[in-house]
Symmetry: C2
Subunit: 530 residues, 2 copies
């Protein structure tokens, strides 16, 4: 009971009579008593205090007052309000301070004022030890929403910290698509638990949605849409909507279908409210919004939303039957996550990982990437090793050789980045690859000539050796040309092999430019200089 | 007249009598005649043909038929339809083929079927020569929308290719925020032209919007919102809206204000259609949507939209007076552009640049980045140069030294990327920096020990020299620790200096890991081995 499982403590306390709690408080040691008192709700405090011995009651009340919390009063004063509405930068500090002082009541109050997304951000910014404490102070009815904003790893950990029945209570009231996302992303045992707790029609819906791959239109959609028939009058639609009380969240348009249930078009709410009630739906609906196919890739859906400025779009199956809708909020999340993932992947990091994961865990994760890069490094070293005799005769080569490799790497990564973006935007296709190749080679030749000359001159000034400068310049020119070629070819090859160019591109490129750079420089030197 | 300025040709032709055109067609040489014929609109063709000499008429009609274009008929047949509705992958190829065969009529038809965003994508994917031709075939009334989807550099070029009055005609019908964006992003002479062409109330609105910095809430907002008073009845609102005919695009909610014009809340359309007509606005409006301050940074606005799943949000000035609204479509564009920019900046590229810019232009742009990196490379070379004597005695050092630098660079970039993302998400603050430092150092020690041992062993096997292995291992451990420190410190320092960590971070980091890596390895070697 005393292992910081505050949520459980609160639940037990809520079932106890005030007098019993008072007895319990008196029976506890000073430290435990303080901790317990932090879990007593404010409205309860007033009812418990009379049952306590006078001295103790005074002490607890004084304690609370000293900490700036008017005991027994639920509505905090104005001064407290202003302190609570601190901006985001100070929230973390405020919460951490409150946690370190075991003032959990204050933590709860701070959290209560924050949007679930902010709470999620706060939890991720906390070290794991404090994270557990703060998490236990999030109200169960808001915990589900908070879970949806967390990254995978932290979400799984925190979901596991909840009691199973708390988890179910937190998650089940969520919107259907949020619920499906959670079930998809939580570890198997937890998602099974949630599936079992979902019942009836809702369970069927969840199962239908789960059947679609996560990165397709089917995986993005929800089924919370309102459909109307094309031949109905606007006035009837309005009467129907009034009966509904509330519309599903993010409803900006109703879906219009014919008698066979086939998708016809959309009726925007903005068109609905400006239309004459006697008109028919078919006269004001928009038919230019094509239904999205169930299996359209998620990235294409995102592009479609962006290009057409959509707020929501209907999803249809192969028979043009309406099966769901996609809303822009999920698309925004998708775009943001994709961008995040691209950035992290380039450094071999997992964007869903916890920044504060145990040292052993993150060390193991990053070791893989270091190991892959070690192969590259040893390959380069092996190339250098072939020319040991040459190096022995002219040590200046060893001094200058990193320059060749590094310039090639930079030039290559520019072309590579251009290609990766071009491929992602669909701007690079067979039709214009040849033109792009000409441009890139032209750019490389110009920059190669420029920097080869500059670097060769610097080397001549440094070592007073014209031959060395010539070899260096030639090697740089060669490496820059090869780098441009590699930057163009690698993403195309990786894409054809089904590997994400953004993930593996830069390692492969570095390998190529290192090996070619060292080989060209030392090879030329062994031919001409030694 | 014959310099491929097809738009001008089309305009002139439109004003000429069919008989006159016929005479012109007959007076031209065969090649010019074909080119001119491509500019004659389909409906005109039928009227011109009778005026032509029989032989020539037959020939032109046959020409068109042979190319699969039924001459004189506006509605193309079913087979043509299916060929025109090719998917995106083939559109580029189809357009390029048509351009190369001078079949401009077909290009125009293809373009007409495409969404402006798709046309913009197509234009960007075309080499500049063909781009001009295709651009001249975009209808003036769609050209403005296409301009809004282009990247800066191409937009400026294409806007300049239009006749000034065509540009004005293309741009003025745009939505207010699109117009303002264009004026902001076009070169000064063109935006002055547009400003002069804008008149009256609209000009005032444009000037107000232009006054706000582009990357603030004020720069993102438009002023196309509908406001209602809190005490009005729902039925009255509905009657008012019906008078308006259409609502501004992306209207998902009306703004509610009090008698003084102060912002009160929002009335969602979805609440409006479900509410009883006799209720008052104040009973169904949402007051939990806080007005966004005019000077809120754009990135914060984006985060707000993402976290709260907003479709649109009110913008208020310091007095809580409603001044505009921000819609989610602009936020989506913003998020996508920011992600794009981050990716391109890491390679020293400009995300607004044209992929097919003239070789000289892109060579000059990239030369800057290569030059900056050259300083890094020479710094590393200088460090190696200090140990020339050591290298001369033990050439194996030259073989192994790139490994030390490269492992440090990789480890450092992992920490750097983590920090850059953490800072962008606001997850890294003073409060948790110390914890993060501990984690990163711990991770580095573990990985340093692991890989130092592995690499040292490999070196011993390779060169049979235990001392060399020891020095290599020690240098790698040192470099990995310094890399983690640098990866943490560099983004913080850059941020404090007002420099974007994503832009300059990796150059600075590479400099540090290269210099420390070479220095540690060669320095230790000169102490212990030589």
């Amino acid at each position: 009971l005393r292992e910081r499982r505050y949520k459980r403590v609160r639940k037990l306390l809520a079932r106890m009579h005030p007098a019993k709690i008072a007895a319990l408080v008196e029976a506890l040691g000073r430290e435990e008593r303080d901790a317990l008192w932090q879990q007593v709700s404010a409205s309860m405090e007033g009812r418990i205090l009379p049952h306590l011995k006078a001295a103790l009651a005074r002490q607890l009340a004084a304690d609370a007052a000293e900490r700036g919390e008017p005991s027994g009063s639920v509505d905090t004063g104005d001064s407290d309000d202003s302190r609570l509405s601190v901006d985001a930068v100070n929230q973390l500090a405020a919460v951490r301070e409150a946690v370190s002082e075991d003032r959990l009541k204050r933590v709860g109050k701070l959290l209560h004022r924050m949007h679930p997304a902010k709470v999620a951000g706060l939890l991720e910014a906390l070290p794991p030890s404090e994270r557990g404490v703060v998490w236990s102070m999030v109200e169960t009815d808001r915990a589900g929403k908070v879970l949806t904003y967390l990254h995978d790893e932290i979400r799984a950990t925190l979901a596991r910290e909840l009691d199973p029945d708390d988890l179910v209570a937190a998650v089940l009231p969520l919107d259907l698509d949020d619920l499906v996302d959670l079930i998809q992303q939580l570890p198997n045992d937890l998602s099974d638990l949630l599936m079992q707790a979902t019942s009836g029609a809702r369970r069927e819906q969840v199962e239908t949605l789960l059947a679609h791959p996560e990165d397709s239109a089917g995986g993005l959609m929800d089924t919370d849409f309102i459909e109307v028939r094309a031949e109905v009058r606007i006035g009837a639609v309005l009467r129907y909507l009034r009966l509904l009380d509330t519309l599903p969240s993010h409803t900006d348009q109703l879906m219009v279908m014919d008698r066979q249930g086939l998708y016809q078009g959309v009726l925007r709410l903005s068109a609905l409210v400006t239309a004459d009630p006697t008109w028919r739906v078919s006269e004001v609906m928009h038919t230019d919004v094509a239904g999205i196919a169930l299996d359209m890739p998620a990235t294409e859906v995102a592009r479609l939303f962006q290009d057409h400025d959509l707020l929501s779009a209907p999803v249809v199956d192969a028979d043009q039957r309406l099966v769901g809708r996609i809303t822009v909020d999920d698309v925004v999340d998708l775009i943001r996550e994709d961008a995040d993932r691209a950035l992290m992947q380039m450094a071999g990091l997992d964007d869903e990982a916890d920044m504060f994961a145990p040292v052993l865990v993150s060390a193991r994760r990053r070791a893989v990437w270091l190991g892959i890069n070690l192969v590259t490094a040893f390959l380069a070293a092996w190339v250098i090793g072939r020319f040991e005799a040459t190096l022995e005769q002219l040590v200046a080569l060893a001094v200058l050789m990193p320059i060749v490799a590094s310039m090639g790497g930079i030039a290559g990564s520019q072309t590579l980045t251009l290609m990766i973006r071009g491929l992602a935007l669909g701007q690079i296709q067979k039709g214009n690859l040849r033109v792009l190749l000409q441009r890139e080679m032209g750019t490389s030749v110009l920059n190669g000539l420029l920097w080869a000359a500059v670097i060769a001159l610097l080397a001549v000034v440094w070592f007073g050796n014209w031959g060395l400068g010539g070899v260096l310049g030639a090697a740089i020119l060669i490496n820059l040309l090869c780098a441009a070629l590699a930057g163009l070819a690698i993403p195309l090859l990786l894409q054809r092999m089904g590997i994400d160019p953004a993930l593996a591109g830069s390692v492969v490129l570095t390998t190529v430019t290192d090996v070619i750079g060292f080989f060209a420089f030392l090879g030329l030197a062994s031919l001409w200089l030694v």
